[in-house]
Each structure stands twice: as structure tokens, then as C-alpha cells.
Amino acid sequence: MTSTQPMTPTEGEPAAPPVVSVDSLSVSYRSGGRDLPVVHDVSFELAQGRTLALVGESGSGKSTVAATLLGHLRHGSRLDGGTVRVAGHDVFALPARELRRLRGGTVAMVAQNAGHALTPSMRVGRQIAEAGSDVPVLDLLEQVRLPRPADLARRYPHELSGGQQQRVAIAMALAARPRVLVLDEPTTGLDVVTQRGILDLVAALRDELGLAAVLVSHDLGVVARMADEVSVLRSGRVVESAPTRALFAGAEQPYTKRLLASVPRLTDDGLALVGDNGEREVRARAVVDADAPVAVSAQDVTVDYGTARAVHGVTFDVRRGEIVALVGESGSGKSTLAWSLAGLRAPSGGTMTHGSGDLARPARRRPAALRRLVQLVFQNADTSLNPRRTVGDAIRRPLRFFGTAPDRRSAHARALDLVRDVRLDPALADRLPAQLSGGQRQRIGIARALAGEPDVLIADEITTALDVSVQAEVLRLLDDLRRERQLACLFISHDLAVVRGIADRVLVLRHGVVVEEGPTEAVFADPAHPYTRELMAAALEPDPDARPLVEDVPDWTDAAQPGDVWTDHGGGHRVRRWRPADTSDTPDAAVTSVSEGVS
């Protein structure tokens, strides 16, 4: 340990600009009697008012590095070497009392899931006050742009939305007026629109208060927007460090190039295939035959949860070989719709039909032949496989259950074929799910769905939990499979860039209502509904100079009336009627001004 300087907390800012300096930091984790290095020789400096992003995939050690700024090491971890200096203090040499003063006072952290970071049984206002601040609570709430702060301070955390909770967490972090803000995946798990709001807030506060910020993220779009400098981490080592603009314009390391290239973009008009050195090749979309048979047809489907209606009269067809995307924020009813199709939740109205039967009945009452043909792939590959059964077993079960394989021996052979079909080594079939990586598990989830030889595949946010490079591989697999097997695929996602690359048609859902639908190209070229425009404006591209796809998002109200719901933009692209929010009091005038061709 190097010697620490005597502390002078009352003095002003140190003359030397770097407020954070990490010098050849190494951390290891003790597991099974061995020391596993988690962070190896990481160094960086950060000046007041600047933002540094630590980027990497899961397991890269980025969160571990961020936590060391607060002098925190996860249980079982050990500092092997190096120093972390914050505002002139070596945090690992500070006595406990000083360290406590440093945390909160000089460095504050905003964690990933604010809903878990807030005490559920304490009113928001009291929690913020507890953060030990001289600044009045209401001022803090106002500072994080929360509406009606007096009212909000009296609420409990569960009464707030995810975005509001995150704002409260930021207010708590700011309470003691820190100089360094550590943001650990601050917007992961939030909707795009909410994410955009939080990021704008953090950027504004950083400039207002002159904070230095360390941003941990796996999302290169977030990083491009927020950071001044970027350090790319892989397996605990810094692969590349550069100013943001330089990094995104021309990364030097192949790993960084691959990482950057793997991010789907809103401007891709097909699925991007990434080479070993990060070269991108955009594969043209598969052409769906004009006379491809309709595999699934939904007419005016409504789904209720008790008295709450999650899906209001949604209508769509999916043809063989076609990928139709359902896009929307959480709570838009897209997953509910998927579960209804899979027979897990009976619809309360409308019809859902498959070429060989009625899908309105729950799975248990569908004939086996029909159940086999409509299969679901889950979002979270960690919980979609039984941890006690080998993955081969997981695939063999539907083979035997649906009778696709007549006997045990052929089931075994077919299962190995399926593992091969999802581009995995058949030797993995004897492993337990815990012995596979997230991407491998998701592939097994797809293989299990394919075991019934379905013609309809429902993919419910299947890449959301995956790292970006793995996401690219899984998307490619899905695209290959639908070409090979002429699958009709309902692809559910909140990520517009992913949808742009893979889907043939898009339905934009908002509060259970389709507000816009059409061929992917048409919708992205000319998003006509304000909600679609809002989603696109909020999407972040991995490019600091990217111009938002759309600029203006008008205020609007719904103007759909029975029998007159859609504005047709031609070629199957149609938009739910809307009108600007406060231009006119007479709905008819507004409707006529917007509508041209009536569907």
C-alpha cells in the first residue's frame, strides 16, 4: 500500500484535475480453493465534469471495478494490487469511518434496479432525507424532474413506476452533493422512452453540478450518448481505452470492432452478419412468397386480466416463412398476446385460428397435433430449462410427448440432430443447463421448441437477456431457421433496432392497441404514428454523432372511431387515427385533416 496523504476535507478541490484515478487495479475472487482473477491491471483517470464508460459483456468485471470506487469488494473477493484514489484518498487504505464519509459524501452510486434499492416500507421522502443531506427533499425531487414532488415524497416505492424509482435513487445519490457519481447499468430493464428520460436527466445533472461520472453499461448506444471516454473491458482486462468519438469512429482492437459491429442498428435493412475482425455484412431479408399460406390469424383478439384489459382487439396474420414483430413498451400487452397464442391464457374475445385448428382454447384443450405446431421460446434462458435435467432430456421430452420420435432410440438421435440444427456441439446434450452459457441455453430453448416440428414459433424477447455478440448469433440462427423450415414467427421485442434487422412486418402496440402496422421498411422509413416516432426518437444508436431517426414527436390524442380506425399509407402500412392534442376541440375536423385514403 502506498502512503496516504493527510486528509484535508475542508480544503477546496485539489489542484490536479483527476478526481478519480485507478492504478493497475487487480482483484481476484476465491472459488473452490482457487483464486480467479476478476480484474487484472485496470487503470484509468477521470477529471471533474467528465464521464467515463466501462463497457463489456457479462463477466467482464466492469461492475467490480465500479464498486471499488466506493471501496467495496464483493464477499470472497480480494484486492491483489493497485490503488483506487478518489478525491485524493486511497479508498482501500481509509479507515472505516473515513470510508463511510467518502461513500455518499464524495462518491455516490446508482444501482441497476432501483426498485430493489429502495426500502419498500418507507415513504420516498423519508428515505431521501435519510441519505443525510442539507438540501431539502423537495428540492432534490424537483432537481430530478419529478412532477408534484410534495405529493410524491409521501408515496411508497411500489407506488412509483420504474423510471420514477430510478429518479428517486438518483435524488438519494445526489443528496449529499457528491463529486463522483457511479452509475451501474442505470437504465437496464427500463423502456426505451423511460431510459431516454433518465439518461437526459443524468447528463443534465452532471453538467449542472459538475460531477464526474463513471457509467457501467453493456449497451453501446447508452455509452455513445453519455460518455466522454470509454474503456472496453473483457475478462477483467482493459482491451481498449479511447475518447468516445474516436472509439466509435475507428476502434483498433478486433474485439472492440466485433462488439461494435454486433450492435443492431436502426438503419440496417437486414440482419447484420459480423465477421471475426468486425466487418459487417448486411444480409438481405428473406423474401416471403406472395402466396405463402397464412399460418396464424388473429382477429380482434382481446385478453383480460380480471377487470383490466391487456389487449384490445388486435388483428394480424402471420404467413409461413414470415417474421412479424410485436413492438411496444412493457405493459403494452405484447407478451400477453404471445401467451394467449401459446394457449397459456385464454382470450376473452375475438378469434385466433391456425391452419389446422382453433387457437382460442387453452393448450390443455387443444388437440395434440395443434399444440405441436405452435411453440413458444422464452425470454429468460436461465429459467426456461429444468436445472435437474440434461439439455438432451429437455429436447427428448417434446419429441416423445408429441410422438415426433416413435421410440427412445430415435428420440435420442433426433435430439442430437436438433442440437446440431441450432449450431451446437451434440456432445453438449449430456450437460446440465448450469454447465452452458446463456447463449447456448437460449439455443437449446429454441431446439426444444423445434422438437415438435412446429410451423409457428413465438419468440418472446428471446435476446433481451443476452450479450450483444450472443444476441447477434441467436438472431442469425432464428433467421436461418425460418428460411430453412418456413417458420411463421411472431417476434416480440422492445428493441426497434433488433426488429428492423429481422422482421418482415411490424406491429406497434401501445396499451394493448395496435397504433401502427406495416412492412418493416415502410414503417421505419415513414413512422406515421406519434407513438412510433417517440419510440424511434428514444432508440439509441452506437454512434455519438448519430442523428435520431425522427426529430419531432407531436403531442397527440387518439382519434379512432368505430368503423373508421385506420389511415392507410399503402402497401399494407396503416396507422391508427390520431390528431394533435390541442389544435381543435372538434374531433371531426382533426380527423379529416389527417385522413386521406380511408381504409
Binding site: 397459456l344 393448450a363 413458444l376 426456461s384 421430452r397 408429441f402 427412445r408 446440465l432
Partner: protein
């Protein structure tokens, strides 16, 4: 648990079972607790089964000429007030204790597991009604309930087995239901539902293997409680009928003579204690070796 549902007709499945057995044995060997416990229970089972070969005395025939003898080469643990060899009666006594306890525990745990899982899986009114009924049963103290049943229906082994099952099922249901509730929302259960599998099949394939450790621990705890409870019944005179060699009954018969022939009371107590400790160690260690440790092996 996992080896139960794959019979090995085809070659690949046979290899699979061999691999599982090997893995089960490997993890088992790593748990000293399980080995010691199994060994103790194994010795008890062996002694009970081989009792007629190990001793030439009759466990129930009276012998007035050898009453209340201390330990000697002829009678290692002495004789009781009717001149019966104590060691012989302890050896034969294991048959009753083990037989009735094992059957009762298996019945209680099996019933409780199925009902608990079904309640977690079905939910709704079934779960609600079941919960209230179980609360009512749980409100009655177990030994009291047993005494009432035995007094009303007689003291046959079948009656005791059923009564013990009825008394212990609610507690098993409670624990198993709690464990199963954590498994039921998992996507692999949802996938099985979407596949249209029946409740029983989901239970057996998806839920049970994931709560096997809970069921194992539950079996351990209930088994030792049941052994003690049944011995208590015998001690109170509601279990085995007098000439039958049974540990609880032996303690009751010989406690008046404890100052004269202490071994006549101590021997069955030692037998009972070792069995209970062995059961606990065995099932506890087993559940850890096959349940918790297999997951750890994976990661």
C-alpha cells in the same frame, strides 16, 4: 429421484442411467455424513433382518429359571423379568420399529409431497380449501390425535401406520407446497403447460426433481419423529401388544427393574437413539449430496 423415470431399454438411455448412477455414487461418497448415517441405518436393517440367525433364543418365550440376570456370556445384555434374553428382544424389536416407521413415513411423505405439489401447481380454490383443512388438522396435537385414533380403532399395525400418516401429512404438505411454489412459476413449467402435459406428468418430471432435496430432508425429519412417536405409543401401551418385542414396550416393561437390570432398559434406548441419529444423518447427507451438490457441480 432423477433415476426413477428413465428405465433403460435402449443403449443410449442405459449409458445415461450408468452415468447418473456413477454421479450419484460420486457425490454420495463425498458426503461423510451420508455415509455414516447410511451405515448406521444399514446395520440396523441387517440386524433386524438377520435376527433369527444371530441369536438362538426365542424373543417371546418365558424362562422362569433365568429371570433378571445381569450381562454374562450366555446373555450379553442380561434377561428381563420373564427370563427373556434382552439382546434377542432388541434385535427382533428393530423389525417392528423399522417396519412400521418406514411404511408410515413413506406413506406420509409420499402423500404430502403429491398433495403439496398439486396444491402449488393447481392453485385457486383447491389450494385455498386444502389450506384451511390442513390448518384444522394441524391444530390438534399429534400424540393426542394418535391416541384418539388408536383408542377408537384398535392397535393394529395398519391402524398405526394410517394414523401416523394422517397426523404427519399436513406438515409435509406445508413444507413441500412452499418449496414447489418457488418452482412452479419457472419457465420450464410453463413450457410443459404449453405443451399440454398433465398435472401428474409436470409434477413428476419438472417439479419433483427440483424439490428432491426438500423432500429428502423432510423424510429425514419425519422418519426420526415417527420412530420416536411410535415408540412413545408403545411405551404408553397403545402400540405393540405385550409379548411382541418392541423397544418402547421394552422400556415400559423394564423401567420398574431399572436398578436391578439396567441393561434391559438401556439396550432398547440405545438402539432407538442410534436408529434416529442414523436416519437423520443419512437422509440429511443424501439430500445434500444429490440435491444441493449436483447444482454446485454444474456451475
Amino acid at each position: 429421484m432423477t433415476t426413477l423415470d428413465t428405465a433403460p431399454p435402449a443403449a443410449p438411455a442405459a449409458a445415461d442411467v450408468r452415468a447418473r448412477t456413477a454421479r450419484a455414487w460420486r457425490t454420495l461418497r463425498s458426503s461423510r455424513t451420508a455415509l455414516v448415517g447410511l451405515a448406521v441405518v444399514g446395520v440396523h436393517v441387517l440386524l433386524a433382518l438377520l435376527a433369527p440367525l444371530l441369536t438362538s433364543y426365542d424373543p417371546i418365550a418365558n424362562d422362569p429359571s433365568h429371570v433378571l440376570l445381569g450381562p454374562s456370556w450366555e446373555h450379553w445384555a442380561g434377561t428381563d423379568q420373564y427370563g427373556r434374553d434382552v439382546l434377542t428382544r432388541v434385535l427382533y424389536g428393530g423389525r417392528y420399529a423399522l417396519g412400521v416407521s418406514v411404511v408410515a413415513t413413506v406413506l406420509a411423505v409420499a402423500l404430502g409431497t403429491v398433495i403439496g405439489c398439486a396444491a402449488a401447481l393447481r392453485g385457486g380454490w383447491f389450494d385455498d380449501v386444502l389450506g384451511r383443512v390442513l390448518d384444522a388438522v394441524l391444530a390438534v396435537p399429534s400424540i393426542l390425535a394418535l391416541l384418539v385414533v388408536v383408542t377408537a380403532l384398535g392397535t393394529g399395525s395398519a391402524v398405526i401406520v394410517c394414523a401416523v400418516a394422517v397426523v404427519f401429512v399436513p406438515q409435509v404438505v406445508r413444507v413441500v407446497r412452499g418449496a414447489a411454489l418457488a418452482v412452479v412459476p419457472a419457465d420450464y413449467v410453463t413450457a410443459a403447460r404449453a405443451r399440454g402435459e398433465g398435472t401428474w406428468s409436470i409434477l413428476r418430471r419438472e417439479v419433483l426433481p427440483n424439490i428432491a432435496d426438500v423432500v429428502g430432508v423432510e423424510f429425514a425429519m419425519r422418519a426420526s419423529w415417527v420412530v420416536l412417536l411410535i415408540s412413545s405409543l408403545s411405551f404408553l401401551g397403545f402400540g405393540a401388544d405385550p409379548p411382541t418385542p418392541d423397544w418402547g414396550l421394552m422400556v415400559a416393561e423394564n423401567r420398574t427393574a431399572i436398578t436391578v437390570v439396567p441393561m434391559a432398559s438401556l439396550a432398547p434406548i440405545i438402539a432407538l437413539a442410534t436408529l434416529v441419529v442414523g436416519l437423520n444423518l443419512a437422509a440429511d447427507g443424501l439430500s445434500k449430496a444429490w440435491g444441493v451438490d449436483r447444482i454446485r457441480e454444474g456451475s
